[in-house]
Point group: C2
Chain length 569, copies 2
């Protein structure tokens, strides 16, 4: 049944124009999909809702920016993506086919293999004699494949660049500029929607796993020592959380907890992470997903991205694919800003003034530049930056633990080159690197999830019970018969709606029943029919999609009525 | 003066957050810019207006879709971009610097060089001994550099792909699917907004020449034999056109002509091209550009893209850069669809039923597959497709003109392999390839143009007279002093506006004059001040940005009043 439903949705999507594989006339490219006329409108409305929830409702602390997809190499060196954003691949030495190694091992050996190291995968493939499923050839060249799409900027080969796999780095590299423009106050959220690209090895999950999609992301910067109190009460509801601890024990029973409580009990590591999870849940509810259909799954350490200290995925169950992630919530700490400080040599800290200046003892790192220079040569300044911007306490700790060298920003530095000194200083405030939590959505997947939740088959009809706010068309206008003055009257209502910037369908072909059916099938929430009575008393029939209920209103009140419904529902 | 103004705008943009160079902390990348918080909102509103003008107002015949940036190689082979989307470059054999050859020749020799062939450029460089301006080295390796950003899809090196330089090919490759979903009627416009990338050799014009930007484009498909009559009267105004003929004579005096007239007199080659130019002009007017500041410049044949039969650029004059293109209007004919038919082997024609079936004599091309097979081997089916889908009349013409071979779709085919026969057929309709006109905008450039038009310096203040519809913030709310109950009252108005999805600023720091100045500088059209009288009679002061006019309205009418202004202005 559930497989059937998915296939019916895909068929509907192709036939009526929600989505379809890109470049179909050339056989398509797996992982690339177009949004058709209906899907593009739905995505537009979903994106508007996202902006409403994540930006407009929070405009006292969240702003939107837009940064390019094309990103110079240094940014992903700094962010760690060049090193860590990889999947293991293995090549058949006979036919040349390339497989994602962990998935292949899982398919063939029926064991869990995600997160295994290259060595562990190699050992498994060799010991169990896993071979190419297509030709039986021997597998070789097991290696990490970087999922960044690579390109070059300008005519110089050495100017390597990548397409961003997340919008986040644009917000980090422009954090200081944005922060300054926004009059230097924290917390500050920087939001962005835009395309990202991930060079998946062989995506085979339709609209679920795309090589290019629209991300909707907030990087929310706050003072880790005084994060501030989110106003949880603006969004009602509790969080259903499946903790990592629980998952380790193979339990699938989530706990239901008040977000504030979840922070107090250290289930969620900081208040803003919990707050944005609550907002994310409220937003998803607007797409037709109820709270009780949602669960926040905490990722296990080996499942987390390299930059995250704690991650929750908001999961929703849909047909065919089961539980799918609709949003990711990562506590990125100061990881990204610290790394960009090291790699750029720019000071990305913020300064918070004390009410009164204080006389304090501060610890400082003193670096022996001569030693560093001799040892690291052209990299010396990078290393010095790394040390200067690193957390003094962490370095002190490291010096205590290990006698001869300290690792800072990935560099092993001999202990003799680093000294910690205490100085008395009159300071007027505190300098620190903000911490970050990130709620992140994929827009196209939300289109699919909303369609899945909306698809209803009844004995006599199929319809999409899409929430009016995200329905591609808000109204359908029908003259009962194709005769004057009915047609003119209907066309006038149509034009009024167009003038009011509503998306609206005008349809005069076929029986009225068939026209209702066509509109139902694509989720048009309201229909207006102009009939003979309309000519007499200037009223028209409104018909509601979900209940088939019908009633009459004044023809010149149609626009206002629809607008009111859209604000209400 | 005009240079100054531009610099002031750039300074304002950086300081307040309209735009700034991307990846600044790493020294930036030329041709890549971020939109900051204010610019991103402005772009959002400009894009909304574009959607209103090009999609919503025309929703009976225009739909929107969304297709990926990443595009497989075959698409750009078919579209001609692999061959033709190039600029000439030349490399210094001493220092390795790469230059755009025509620009270098223009700079050094002070002659017009755009559009010259590689041979002509080579001849000029050699005969005039043009050398590297940086080091004086000899220039070598003059060649065509393709402006497509190249990448690979998946782990196979042979899966070459490119980032789209225009959205158009997504609409062409998905034309048939979209046309079918939209119940197979013409004319049909397919609109798209999204990022595109052009690997410019060394862009040095700030926000004017970007390597990645947001395109807003319509491909408008129509029957070339019965294009239909656009409703010109929906958009008032005449077109100011600088024809190619006139430009050849070095004349800069445009003619002013009614769009319908322009079509009749064959100044504009078809009605839809003229119609969308009219819409484009009306849209640009909403950004604060008057009709009399706009001119449509017809491109000379050597300036036109390879796919265009006639092109007009809508130009607007701004400070520093002079006349800049804000939209391009190309008559792409059936070029793209024909090419995709040839390369994909798919039938992309549409069928138009006659009122009655007819008995007609039709000419058909008969291909000798044996000859083609022997001659073209693995390319044979491509060649056969090219012939079958080509215009019979054109082939007949070619056969008449040249005795031994005919060129179809770029292939030279011996005449003996092609025969034209006449057959009597009962046909129920006509099959044809739709023609296309394309209006195309760059969103980021419009942000700059609107800022340029809005920037006003008066004796005592600087402000942006941005049209309220595209102003980043619609309202500023100030308590006269930071005291209760003024603050609470002001905050309530702020919250009401947020609830109504208006972008709004709350500001309580500094004198009221300074707050007005800060809001003026970023073009906030309306400000509300809560003062002591507000406590007594629940009225507040509205202050208009452009006139500094002030008047009082009821506090609880602020939201409604602002909304009304936004619909009106």
């Amino acid at each position: 049944m559930s497989v059937d439903k998915y296939e019916k949705i895909v068929d509907l999507a192709l036939r009526r124009g929600f989505f379809w594989p890109s470049y179909e006339i050339y056989g398509g490219v797996s992982g690339l999909y177009d949004l058709g006329p209906l899907g593009a409108l739905m995505k537009e409305y979903i994106r508007n809702l996202w902006i409403e929830y994540f930006v407009l409702k929070h405009q006292d602390m969240v702003v939107m920016i837009e940064t390019p997809m094309i990103t110079p190499e240094i940014v992903f060196k700094a962010s760690g993506h060049l090193e860590s954003f990889t999947d293991p691949i293995v090549t058949c030495s006979k036919c040349g086919r390339v497989y994602r190694a962990d998935h292949l091992v899982e398919d063939v050996l029926k064991v869990k293999a995600e997160g295994l190291s290259l060595d562990e995968l190699k050992e498994l493939i060799e010991s169990k004699n896993v071979r190419c499923p297509a030709c039986g050839g021997e597998l070789s060249d097991l290696r990490a494949f970087n999922l960044l799409f690579q390109t070059n900027i300008g005519p110089y080969k050495q100017n390597v660049a990548y397409l961003r796999p997340e919008a986040a780095q644009g917000m980090f590299t422009s954090f200081k500029r944005t922060y300054t423009c926004m009059r230097a106050s924290l917390p500050l959220g920087i939001a962005q929607t835009g395309r990202v690209a991930r060079n998946e090895i062989s995506p085979r999950q339709g609209m679920i796993r795309l090589r290019e999609f629209t991300i909707m992301e907030v990087e929310f910067f706050f003072d880790p020592e005084e994060p501030g109190e989110p106003n949880y009460s603006r969004f009602k509801g509790k969080l259903k959380i499946l903790t990592a601890e629980c998952r380790r024990k193979d339990c699938r029973e989530p706990i239901v907890v008040d977000p504030e409580e979840a922070v107090k009990e250290r289930i969620v590591l900081n208040p803003w992470l919990a707050y944005w999870m609550l907002v994310a849940q409220a937003f998803v509810k607007e797409l037709g997903v109820n709270e009780d259909e949602v669960v926040f799954e905490e990722k296990l350490p080996e499942e987390r991205a390299h930059y995250s200290k704690q991650t929750f995925d908001q999961l929703v169950k849909i047909s065919r694919w089961g539980w799918v992630e609709v949003s990711g919530h990562a506590y990125r700490t100061d990881y990204d800003l610290s790394r960009h400080m090291t790699y750029s040599g720019q000071d990305l800290t913020v300064f918070k003034e004390f009410p009164e200046p204080k006389e304090v003892t501060v610890k400082k790192v003193v670096v022996d530049k001569a030693i560093i220079g001799k040892l690291f040569k052209e990299k010396a300044s990078e290393v010095i930056n790394a040390v200067i911007y690193a957390d003094v306490l962490k370095i002190e700790e490291a010096l205590k633990n290990k006698s001869n060298e300290v690792v800072v920003g990935g560099y092993s530095i001999p202990s003799e080159a680093i000294k910690i000194v205490e100085v008395r200083e009159r300071v007027s405030g505190r300098k620190f690197i903000p911490h970050v939590v990130e709620p992140s959505f994929g827009a196209e997947r939300l289109v699919l999830v909303a369609l899945d939740k909306a698809y209803v088959e009844e004995a006599d009809r199929t319809y999409l019970k899409l929430p009016p706010k995200i329905a591609p068309y808000k109204l359908a206008v029908f003259p009962l018969v194709t005769r004057e003055p009915l047609v003119s009257l209907a066309r006038k209502i149509y034009r009024d709606c167009v003038e009011a910037k509503l998306t609206v369908i005008y349809d005069e072909s076929g029986s009225i029943g068939r026209r209702y059916a066509r509109a139902d099938e694509i989720g048009v929430p309201f229909a207006v029919t102009v009939d003979y009575q309309s000519v007499e008393d200037s009223t028209v029939t409104i018909r509601l999609r979900d209940t088939k209920e019908q009633f009459r209103i004044k023809a010149d009140e149609v626009v206002g009525w629809v607008r009111k419904q859209l604000e209400r529902l």
